[in-house]
């Protein structure tokens, strides 16, 4: 699964998004994100808020308002990332899904800011 995004978040953790996840898992149900891969990148690098996922302790949700252009610019882009320790003992994250959302879940625990 070759990555189409490989970047680091504000804590220096490497996060990748694979072609398979983007084209086979995200875009089929979220057509509004077509041609907006760069918005996913901006959200991870410059998130307004990062929360621990309510259902899985090794997942975090990155939120950035204004990441998507008109007519979605007044919404958050939510990007869910699963983290795991690699064989080389580094923390690596993989994007699981992404979509525009109006609100942030109250059940999530804020990690940043």
């Amino acid at each position: 699964m070759p990555p189409i995004l490989r970047l680091r978040d504000r804590w220096g953790r490497e996060i990748v998004l694979t072609e398979e996840i983007w084209f086979d898992h995200v875009l089929p149900g979220h057509r509004e994100l077509a041609a907006h891969l760069s918005a996913v990148e901006r959200t991870i690098v410059d998130a307004d808020q990062v929360n621990r996922d309510a259902g899985a302790s090794n997942r975090e949700n990155f939120y950035l308002m204004g990441a998507l252009p008109d007519p979605y610019q007044h919404l958050y882009l939510k990007v869910c990332v699963q983290f795991q320790r690699s064989a080389a003992d580094a923390i690596i994250g993989r994007v699981v899904t992404a979509f525009p959302a109006r609100k942030i879940k109250a059940s999530e625990v804020k990690r940043w800011p």
Partner: protein, 167 residues
């Protein structure tokens, strides 16, 4: 980027279709294992939209998919579908009937159903995809909570979901 942040906290009134007019049999549905998300679009195909919580849903597992221009409800997005929602409301397993499966085979889906004590072959007529979806949407439209409260995920399903991400 300077952004007007008001709209994200303003209340939005979803515009519901007349449920009796919707042909649920032709609904587009897709289950994705890595995100444990079931997506359903009523119009027979996936369309651009945004996600908004169902206000009555304290479990925060269900989003409405709304048209960005009209706020029309064009579909639903159910998160933690197999690890939280189905263990709490087993009849909702019927929503997987006819869904495209992403990240798992039909056999693997049946194995997960077995873990949860569900036999899809036992589904009665009143538990068909169309009937279950229509009842769920009627509840959501009426403001009835789909799940009573936040529920802990099934750890066996969670393990399968996490492996599907591909580390």
């Amino acid at each position: 980027m300077a952004v007007d942040r008001k709209i994200a906290t303003e209340s939005i009134q979803p515009v519901w279709p007349h449920l009796s007019d919707v042909d649920f049999r032709s609904a587009w549905r897709n289950y994705d294992l890595p995100s444990d998300t079931l997506m359903i679009y009523f119009g027979g195909r996936s369309v651009p939209a945004f996600s908004d919580f169902v206000e009555s849903d304290e479990s925060e597992t269900m989003y409405l998919r709304l048209d960005i221009h009209t706020n029309e409800v064009v579909g639903i997005q159910i998160e933690y579908f197999l690890m939280i929602v189905v263990p709490s409301r087993p009849e909702l397993h019927a929503l997987l009937d006819g869904a495209r499966l992403n990240g798992l085979t039909l056999q693997e889906l049946e194995d997960i159903a077995g873990l949860l004590g569900i036999d899809p072959r036992d589904q009665a007529e009143e538990a068909s995809f169309e009937r279950v979806l229509e009842r769920l949407l009627s509840d959501l439209k009426a403001g009835r909570a789909p799940l009573p409260h936040v529920v802990e995920p099934d750890q066996r399903v969670l393990a399968k979901v996490q492996r599907a991400v591909g580390f």
